[in-house]
Amino acid sequence: MPHVYTLPDTILSSAHQYPNKEAFRCDGKAVSFAEMVAIMNQIAYFLHDCGLNKGEKVGVYLPRSLHTALAVYGIMHAGGVYVPLDPDAPISRIQHLIRDCGIKILITNPFKRRAIPKLLEGFDDLTHIIGIKRETLSVPTCSWEEIQTLPETFPKSRVQAQDLAYIMYTSGSTGAPKGIMHTHYSGLSYAKLSQDLYELGSEDIIGNHSPLHFDISTMGYFTAPLAGSTAVIISDAYTKMPASLSQLIEKERLTLWYSVPLALIQILNRGVMEERDFSSLRWVLFGGEPFPTKHLRELMEKIPQATFCNVYGPAEVNQCTYHHLPHPPTDHTPIPIGHIWPNTEGLIVDKDGQEVQQGDIGELLIKSATRMQGYWNNPELTDRSFYKRNTTGIEEIYFKTGDLVRENEEGLLEFLGRKDRQIKVRGYRVELDEIESYLYEHPAVQEVAVFATQGKDNNKQIEAIVIPKTGHTFTLEELKSHLTKRLPPYAVPTKISTTDTFPRTSTGKINYIQLAQQQQLI
């Protein structure tokens, strides 16, 4: 049986054990482990033919689909590094990421046919596009049908565990997104730890709700093949229609669900749960942001046989803690993030880097096999995000999460907020400073404050207030469109207004707390 040292080895190994078992399913179509091997060979063959060298980046510009799984494994099998590009992000942001990490080859499908010509307009970084066929484009293209006529064997590449496997971009506070670099080793470590913790095997059917550019997707794309489970990729259409989404859980007989709380709240509110059979669910995992206890209680009561687990971990370490809820929450106390999972160590430190007493608040630092290698092309930021200590002659590296936590009397970790101005919107990380820096690029903006308030249904919403430059006129629509062209949809403020003055602290800084309180009252 093939050994598993790299992520594509999980497919080879499962194909050996369960060749005809379905590895991925999406929208009624499926691909078996044996077929996965054939197609990932074909993609690797083609990438090699395009001149892709080991360690080079390939963009994955796809909505949730079977193509996504094929692209990810084809790229890694060829020795390349896959870079998810949010299919809903503005074109200028996609171009920025392509340039930032030197992508030459893009994998897409016909659903993005409208976007591709716009992407190529005045932009000549790409040399090949895989997944759509169009003679009129300025670069050579190759359709999925053509890929599947290529040889089904590819010499096993010399990929090692410590080689890069993927780069996931996230909001950066200086205005440029930062690329989190993961190796085959860190990706596979996550897959092994999560397989063990949730006791996943070949009987499991894992619902993959998250898009590829969100780290929650690694459960479906990595853990499922390692465990020989089937991953059901939930296509974009289902994520927008809760009644169809709940139908999918029943029809696909999912045994594990993993998503941000919002998706589960939508199922609860509009998924006609009383008409659906959820008896196949063994696990319901949620992460990305806190789950409002009122909704969680209701949901747990409706799916009594499933174990609910609060998952915590920044994308830099993937997952690092878990909390299995012993019973539905009885009050409004936030759900703990729980215990640090195996093969991982945590420290809670004060602002001087000293460990705090048990029960005191501090920043959580994590040392784990799942830790990223660093931020792409940013050794300085990487260095700042690591805490290194050497007490035994061997250097230990911890990732500084920036999250404030406390260990409660039962030994469970509680999440208490951020050290900086990062927030979560629908589970996505958003740096408020990044939005401000884009607003400052607008010629009519004198000063700006961006902050979060509680919107409808307890959801966070982003607001921006601008002091205009004297002599400049602009409309609020203009400012909104300025941001829409630069930021992913979830990071664009829901409300933009103007003012002539901000409340300030004694040192002259904008008083964000007072500002948010004022807005909340309007």
Binding site: P87, S244, S481, P489
Partner: protein
């Protein structure tokens, strides 16, 4: 009805961006043309415009995949719709 819905999607939800204009048979859900927030705005618009409440169980992919599908779905509810 079809024209009215198309106008709403193109002018209001897609903010009139000409290159984004959709046709009535186009897939609204898979391509990323409308996100989940825009989809809910469209449902809200239909409910208000035709004075009806669409039960949660009928908010499905089949009924809302395209403007054509929505028009067919609404035609099947003719008796409830006050035009």
């Amino acid at each position: 009805m079809k024209e009215k819905l198309l106008t709403y999607v193109n002018e209001t939800l897609l903010e009139g961006g000409e290159e984004n204009h959709i046709t009535s048979e186009e897939d609204l859900l898979t391509t990323g043309i409308l996100d989940s927030v825009a989809m809910m705005s469209l449902v809200g618009y239909i409910e208000e415009e035709y004075s009806l409440t669409i039960p949660a169980g009928e908010l499905t992919i089949e009924n809302f995949i395209s403007i054509d599908a929505i028009t067919n779905f609404l035609s099947s509810k003719k008796e409830e719709i006050q035009l």
